[in-house]
Symmetry: C2
Subunit: 207 residues, 2 copies
Amino acid sequence: MEDNKNETSNIVWHQSDITKEDRQKLHGHKSLMIWFTGLSGSGKSTIANALQHELYKDGSSVYLLDGDNLRHGINRNLTFTEEDRKENVRRTAEVGKLFVDAGVVVLAALISPYAADREQARILFEPEEFVEVYVKCSLQECEKRDPKGLYKRARLGEIKQFTGISQPYEEPQNPEITIDTTVMSVKECVQEIQSYLKNKIHLREEE
Amino acid sequence: MEDNKNETSNIVWHQSDITKEDRQKLHGHKSLMIWFTGLSGSGKSTIANALQHELYKDGSSVYLLDGDNLRHGINRNLTFTEEDRKENVRRTAEVGKLFVDAGVVVLAALISPYAADREQARILFEPEEFVEVYVKCSLQECEKRDPKGLYKRARLGEIKQFTGISQPYEEPQNPEITIDTTVMSVKECVQEIQSYLKNKIHLREEE
């Protein structure tokens, strides 16, 4: 069956006559991927949601790909092994790329514990289109918060594969933005990101 | 490893505070999935592209998921076995659902030969959100056109799994729209679809 794989070479790329730039013009802003990575309970979804709200209020076409929600849809047939986490990140990045191509500011919030997988996600995009946000929070603090009670169950051995407990989390070395939710409020985190984005998503007047 | 699967039950759905309706309001129109199915060479990509162009000109936020292009991205690790074709359709439908949720009119153009798989795609959407377009064209005519030279190679046995030659194409029984590209021009096909969409994507004034 290996020859099936090679049939991909039979597939012709169809260039759409409506471009990413056309769609950005329609929406009135540039599109990019804002990738939130961090431990479970660090605050990724909360901050991404709050940022989404602010961008929407500004009139931007924005969409949040929440790792947990994707596990109910496109990624529902994936487990939590290292291999499947890799595929989880890959698919999310590919979906994000489609959204960026569609002219949408797309936010992705998922643990994405392995640096190599995040790097694979990044290289799908133009350099200025990918913004990695490290949602930093100590394991101790995440475990104290434990908003879904998952750390407790991981400690009890009820969840076998859990980042920070039985699987590693590789900290980003050069993220575009680091926000520390141990000391910053949600509002402060959002403002920090907005300030970074300021000149990145607005189309210049002459465009 | 089977217990990994069950960990999906640990995943909490995060409700975004920006809704599909909010995004539709921002874009000024409703969102839906227009699903083109038909044999290779029937004209799916051509017609979907032309329709996309018209919708864009009308100021709609529109995006085309082309089956061939997705095979270079989100679906790059899939082959052409029946099982993988099913997964190809499933992922495309799930991506489409995200776009509809994002307030975008999304077009999908892929052979999607199995009726059951298309049905699985349909049920992901609200009834009024899914429009199946059967791009009808006889095998004889598609083979005569053979724009990518694939039929020839399939007949020579160089491509083992090819819809219409060595794999079945199950005709849609109740598509919302049927367009016959043997007798209709691209322009006529697009007009037929636009006429169907007329009252479906515009938000009512009071909205």
